[in-house]
Symmetry: C2
Subunit: 295 residues, 2 copies
Amino acid sequence: MEKKAGFIGLGVMGISMASRLIDAGYDLFVYNRTKSKANTLIERGAHWCGTPREVAENTHVVFTIVGFPSDVEEVYLGDNGLVEGASEKSIFVDMTTTKPSLEKKIEKALSSRKARFADAPVSGGDKGAREGTLSIMVGCDDDIFPVLLPYFSVMGKNITHLGPVGSGQHTKMANQIVIAGTMAGVSEALVYGARAGLDLVKMVSTISKGAAGCWTLDNLAPRVLRGDYAPGFMVDHFIKDMTIAVEEADAMGLSLPSLALTRELYKAVKAQGHGKDGTQVLVKALESLSGGEDF
Amino acid sequence: MEKKAGFIGLGVMGISMASRLIDAGYDLFVYNRTKSKANTLIERGAHWCGTPREVAENTHVVFTIVGFPSDVEEVYLGDNGLVEGASEKSIFVDMTTTKPSLEKKIEKALSSRKARFADAPVSGGDKGAREGTLSIMVGCDDDIFPVLLPYFSVMGKNITHLGPVGSGQHTKMANQIVIAGTMAGVSEALVYGARAGLDLVKMVSTISKGAAGCWTLDNLAPRVLRGDYAPGFMVDHFIKDMTIAVEEADAMGLSLPSLALTRELYKAVKAQGHGKDGTQVLVKALESLSGGEDF
C-alpha cells in the first residue's frame, strides 16, 4: 500500500498532525490558505499543492482540518476544491469540528464521482495533536474505517467508529454539550464559593472527589485559581462549536435550554474581550454579572 | 474519653450513620420524629430520648441529620430543642444539607449557653452512609475539629475542615452547583445524541474519556441507557439543595443563571411526577420539551 497522504489545513492542530504523518513515513501533499505555514513541512519533504483539487489529484487519502463551516465548504465544494479532483479511488476525511449536515452534503457531492468520505473530528487540543494522543470520533461506512485506521493511529489514541458519515460530528457535538454544562457548573460554583468566602483550593479539592467530579474541575478550576486564562481551548472556538450544536438542534426541532444559555454567557465573555482566552475565563463574565472582583 | 454520642434524624442516611457509631462502640442517645424508625437501634442498645433536649442533657456530642431547613430549626431552636438542653460541655454537629445562614444562627443561639457547633453536610448517598465512605465537609472552629474527627472517621472517608461554621454548607452548595451543571450537560447530550440517531452506548463511552468526562457521565448516563431511574439521589432532595443555593446566592446578591435554569428544569421533572426518582430522570423532562420518546 502506498504511503502517501494529502493534508489541508495547517493551523495549530493541523501542523502537528501533518508533521506526525511525515514522521511515520508518509509522503505528504499539502495545501493551506496561507502558504507560509507549510514551510516547515515543505523543508521536511512535503509537496506543496496550489489548490485542494491538486492535492486530490496527487493522492487518494486526504485529510482536512480547517476553521469554520464556510472554510470546509470552500475546500470541498468551491472552485478547484477537492470534489473537482476526486476519483473513485479517493477517500476524504474531514477532521474539522463542523456541521454534521454539511458533512452529509459533502458525502453526497463526492458520491457523484464515486469518491468516499469520512467525518472525524477530534478532541485533545494542540497537546494531543503534538503527542498523537487525540481522541478521534469517526463517522463513515464500515468498509472505510479499517482503511483509515493506520493514518488515525499516527494522530490519535482513542479512535472510535461511531456510525455513518455525520456520526463523528454528532458525537463531538454531544461532547461539547456536556462541556457547556460542566463549564457553567464549575464556573458558577467558583463564583459562589468566592463570594461565600471559602478557601477555593480546599473547596475544589474537596468536591472534586465525589459526584461533582469532572475533567473541568480537575483541569480548569486550578488554572482559574492561579489566574491563568491562557487558552487550552479558546472561547471563539467553543462559541463556534456551540453555535453548530444549537443550529443542529434547531434543524432537529430540539430544545436544549442549558446549552443555549451557556452559549449566551460565552457571547458575553467574548463581548468583554476574552474571545482569544481559554474557556475557563467564563468565571470573569459570571462574576461581572454581580459586580464581583474575585477573579 | 467517654464513648457516648447523641444522634437525631434516623432517615435513610441517619440510620446507617448511627448504626456505624454503635458498631464502633459508642453508647448512643437517639431521637427521631417517628419513633418506630429507632427500633432497630434500640434493640442494639441505643437509648431512646423523648425530645432533642433530652438527648442534649444525656450526652455532650450530638449529631443531627434531618430534612428541610424548617426541621433543622425545630430540632435546635424549637420547644424542647437542643439549645434548651445545651451546656458549656456540648458540641452539636448538623450534618443535614441546609442553609449556611441557618447554621450561623444556630451557632449564635448555642453560644448563649457556651455550647459549640459545627456544620458537616455529607455527600456519598445511602451507600456511603452504610459503608462509612461519606465525604464530610466540616465548618467549625479550629479547636473543635480534632474533637469531632474520631466520630467522623466512623462515618466517612474524605473528611475536610473547610473553615468556620457555614463553610461546610457553602462547600456542599458549591458541590450541588457543579452537579446541576453536569446533570444539565449530560442530559442534553443524551437527548441530542438520541435525536441524532447515535449509538448512545458508544457515544457515552467515547466522550467520557476526554474533556467531557465527569462522574455523572460515568455513573448516571449508563443508568439512563438501561432505563433505570431509581434514586441514587432523589429529585425532591436535589430541588431542596438547589433552592437553598439559589436563596443563599440571592442573599449574597449573586446571579447564577445556569443554576437557576437547572432548578427550573427540575421543577418540571417534579411536576411531571418524578420527584421520588433519581436525578438522572432529567432526560425525560428535557426530551418532553421537544416531544421525543427515546427515554
